[in-house]
């Protein structure tokens, strides 16, 4: 709206303040090209994940893990039967790709969610209580944060031999919470001094109530933002683990697909197999990242570009 319009337009009717804020945020988000592209990409992948249940229903030979095509038992280029060709065992690559989308979302979102839960709790507790709890928790988070997650998870992966997909998710979540915790802690510290907290304390609210009822809602938007970054990290780590051969052998993930194409010697022979999984990993990561950057702008008004 131009300046003239803003002056002459009637004042909008009063709505719930948070809904208004949400709409405003959405407008900012939507204006940002990063956010738009990110959202579109994400939507595409979401559709892919939803579609992943379809191929085995069409014909059992399209099952990503156990699909046995009676006519094709080796790696073949794209054809009408198999739109992206087949892997070395004759399994359909497109259905593997779709199944991998589902796994990527599941791993990414679960790991991110768990690390957020952990990170927010630790951050709030640490910021609110202060003292020794704070020091110990922050030292702990420093140590964990500084470790190269992939290598640590790799060590754990090898130690425990067989890794289920959920174990991997848990491990990733366990090593990614520190980043969130520190930010949440900073926010908590700044909130701690606010008058409404004092008011609550005077009114006799317990610590737990203060933390969860008053601080948490204000801290959540930031947490949500950081969740998008955790998702990218989780997806990449799971893919890297699978690529190196430490993933869950019973799950088809994009990283696993890359491992198969690499280890079975089809790297040079089968571009239809080599290109899609890596492309998907990169694009999904990109979309979450762009989403994150766009939301960054939403949450931090200073980053909003005023000269649009």
């Amino acid at each position: 709206m131009s300046v003239k319009d803003q002056i002459t337009a009637p004042a909008p009717p009063r709505r719930h303040p948070w809904r208004e804020r949400l709409l405003e945020n959405w407008r900012v988000f939507h204006r940002n090209p990063l956010g738009r592209v990110g959202l579109i990409l994400l939507a595409i992948f979401a559709i892919m994940a939803a579609l992943s249940v379809a191929p085995p229903l069409i014909d059992p030979m399209y099952h990503p893990m156990t699909g046995v095509d009676p006519e094709v038992m080796h790696s073949s280029p794209p054809s009408w039967r198999h739109w992206l060709g087949t892997d070395f065992m004759g399994r359909d690559i497109l259905s593997q790709l779709l199944a991998g989308t589902r796994v990527a979302f599941m791993v990414g979102v679960s790991a991110a969610f768990m690390s957020i839960v952990l990170g927010v709790s630790v951050g709030m507790v640490s910021g609110y209580l202060g003292g020794w709890t704070d020091i110990i928790l922050m030292r702990l988070s420093e140590i964990i944060m500084v470790m190269p997650t992939l290598l640590v998870v790799l060590m754990l992966a090898a130690l425990f031999g067989k890794l289920g997909i959920w174990t991997i998710v848990l491990m990733i979540a366990f090593f990614r919470w520190p980043g969130v915790a520190r930010v949440i802690r900073a926010q908590t510290l700044s909130l701690k001094g606010r008058p409404f907290i004092d008011a609550a304390r005077v009114a006799g609210a317990s610590h737990a109530r203060i933390v969860f009822r008053h601080i948490m809602p204000n801290v959540l938007p930031l947490a949500f933002l950081y969740m998008t970054f955790r998702v990218t990290a989780a997806i990449i780590i799971e893919a890297a683990l699978a690529f190196l051969g430490f993933g869950d052998p019973g799950t088809v993930s994009w990283g696993m697909m890359l491992q198969w194409v690499w280890k079975t010697g089809h790297m040079f022979q089968a571009p239809w197999w080599l290109l899609p999984p890596g492309l998907c990993i990169s694009l999904l990561t990109l979309s979450f990242y762009m989403l994150g950057r766009a939301m960054d702008e939403v949450l931090d008004p200073r980053l909003r570009d005023q000269s649009h």
């Binding site: 156990t66 067989k162 430490f246």
Partner: protein
């Protein structure tokens, strides 16, 4: 950093061009030093050249060229030919002794190889119980040198495998290892010290000697001028070596090695070539593909300690359902043979040549019908047995065991698909085939180490698909795998098979020093095992190797591949071909 974009381009472009130009200079263009040197590509370098420590295949490849045994199997009949020994061992059945006379031979530093070396090797193995060899010499009571060139082994009990296994173990140099042994004896853990001893310049009694080992990149072996076999004719074959040396190039991945083979940077890739590469390689005129039999066994194992896999009828039904011809044709892409017995056909002396009914060519329909018949006769029942509607099969549902309880989920453990796609695929197919009859089986790919742990140590499995790529031709291991006594954690009896009939046969066979007496016993052992089926042998894959013949000729084909000692001793450089 303060230059404008134009400036920047002015610097980057020339740099890039120079860079590209430089990449066209292939480092290491034709040189003189490597005329007559065979270049072999390997996937991994040896763990170690310390013979006491390393027995894995990559280490053995190189060690086989350095450390020689008394007897070596020759390619034609696979019979042990006198190698370091001058003639076959003389066996005295009364005294239980083997007397071996040695050829004149020398170590790579010129010192003579005598009976003392042979005695020393055997004594060290026994004294420290070196894990790699200890069981081979378990029956040895005493070994002595009768003179400089004669050794006598005295056994404490009859051991049918002794001649083939113990006398096929390498002979090491007393001169080199005696001082090491003494050092190790002074430590708290002599065996560990011996295994961890860093071997710098191994004394070799073989056709080659170590010249240089650059870790992770290459191993360069030069011809050993003191090789005892130079110019000799053994087992009807004239030996060299005629090549001046061997370079083992380490390629981390198969891609790199196959590429090198095609480009001509190596003459031979010492590994099985996966089907993914075969299409391109068959079309390449410069590369020759050699197919060899292996002494291997890939099988489906059952856990006899559990139900229903403990029931013979159940196992026979499973055997009926598994279409091995299909596996060979589709999973192995034709590159293998069906195994109907636990010993491969290549093992001509001991292989049991019979085809059980389930290995006959049968259609899917016939297989299902027969399997249903077997299960029904044993008391299994379905809520809804498998039925045919025209051409489509309606899978069986609600399968119950003879006691009326529904079958629980059965796991088929396999290695992961990247480790061995074939075994993983077999698991998947078995799942499908068993499911058609209503048996709730599920293929479970597992990390290999974890799988071994579960199968061998904890015996926590229903079925598994494993394989041994390199079984000794001597059938002594058959006993190890199925003797009731070996059913313990980490023991080799993974299935939990207990059969007094088999035990007595196996023990007898283990004591049968006369091959004519032993052979029928081993055949009978196989018959019993095939009847009880604790293992279902599946296939024996064909080994496909790639080599070039533009520089060298004279490769010797043999069970186990072209990379054998005879090849290395018989290869000759083709005249007048410089390096491409």
């Amino acid at each position: 950093m303060t230059r404008s974009p134009v400036w920047r381009l002015a610097i980057i472009l020339p740099l890039l061009t120079i860079l590209l130009a430089l990449t066209q200079i292939r480092p290491g263009a034709a040189a003189d030093w490597d005329q007559g040197v065979l270049r072999v590509g390997v996937l991994e370098e040896p763990k170690s050249l310390n013979p006491w420590l390393a027995g894995d295949s990559w280490s053995s490849h190189v060690q086989a060229l350095l450390y020689q045994p008394l007897y070596l199997r020759e390619p034609a009949e696979l019979k042990p030919a006198p190698w370091l020994a001058a003639e076959p061992p003389v066996f005295d059945p009364q005294a239980l002794t083997y007397t071996v006379r040695l050829r004149p031979a020398h170590w790579s530093d010129g010192s003579p190889l005598t009976a003392a070396d042979v005695v020393f090797t055997a004594e060290l193995i026994q004294a420290l119980k070196v894990p790699r060899f200890a069981s081979l010499f378990a029956a040895l009571k005493r070994v002595e040198a009768l003179d400089q060139h004669t050794v006598r082994y005295k056994l404490s009990r009859p051991d049918a495998s002794f001649a083939a296994r113990a006398l096929g173990a390498p002979v090491l140099a007393r001169k080199q290892w005696q001082p090491v042994l003494e050092q190790c004896r002074m430590t708290q853990r002599p065996l560990a010290s011996l295994l961890q001893y860093k071997l710098e310049a191994p004394l070799s009694n073989g056709p080659f000697v170590l010249a240089e080992w650059r870790k992770g990149v290459y191993i360069y072996l030069k011809r050993n001028p003191h090789f005892f076999g130079q110019g000799l004719t053994i087992a009807g074959r004239r030996l060299g070596p005629e090549i001046s040396g061997v370079v083992f190039k380490v390629y981390g991945t198969s891609d790199a090695a196959v590429l090198a083979l095609r480009k001509g940077t190596i003459d031979y890739y010492w590994n099985n070539i996966q089907p993914g590469y075969l299409r391109d390689l068959t079309r390449d005129p410069a590369v020759r593909l050699v197919h060899s039999q292996k002494s291997a066994l890939y099988f489906l194992g059952f856990n006899l300690r559990r139900h229903p896999t403990g029931q013979a009828a159940f196992r026979r039904a499973v055997a009926m359902l598994i279409d091995k011809q299909f596996v060979i044709k589709r999973v192995l892409q034709g590159s293998g043979e069906v195994m109907s017995s636990l010993l491969p056909a290549g093992n001509r002396l001991y292989h049991l040549d019979q085809t059980p009914d389930y290995d006959q060519p049968l259609t899917r329909r016939q297989r299902i019908e027969k399997a249903v018949a077997i299960l029904s006769a044993a008391g299994y029942a379905w809520d809804q047995p498998p039925a045919w509607e025209g051409d489509r099969l309606r899978p069986g549902r609600g399968l119950k065991d003879p006691e009326g309880k529904p079958l629980r989920e059965l796991g088929i453990l396999t290695p992961p698909a990247d480790y061995d796609p074939q075994r993983a695929m077999v698991g998947v197919m078995a799942q499908e085939w068993l499911g058609q009859v209503g048996i709730p089986a599920f293929a479970r790919p597992m990390a290999f180490g974890a799988m071994l742990e579960q199968v061998k140590s904890r015996h926590d499995f229903d079925m598994f698909v494993l394989g041994y790529g390199n079984l000794p031709l001597d059938p002594g291991w058959l006993g190890a795998f199925f003797l009731g006594a070996n059913d313990k954690p980490r023991g080799w009896n993974m299935s939990g098979y207990h059969s007094p009939e088999f035990d007595s046969l196996a023990n007898q066979a283990g004591r049968a020093m006369d091959p004519d007496e032993r052979r029928p016993l081993v055949l009978e052992m196989q018959r019993v095992l095939m009847k009880d089926a604790p293992f279902l042998p599946l296939y024996n894959p064909t080994l496909t190797e790639g080599l070039r013949e533009d520089r060298f000729s004279g490769w010797v084909e043999m069970v186990g591949g072209v990379g054998n000692l005879w090849s290395f001793c018989e290869l000759t450089p083709r005249a007048g071909r410089a390096r491409p």
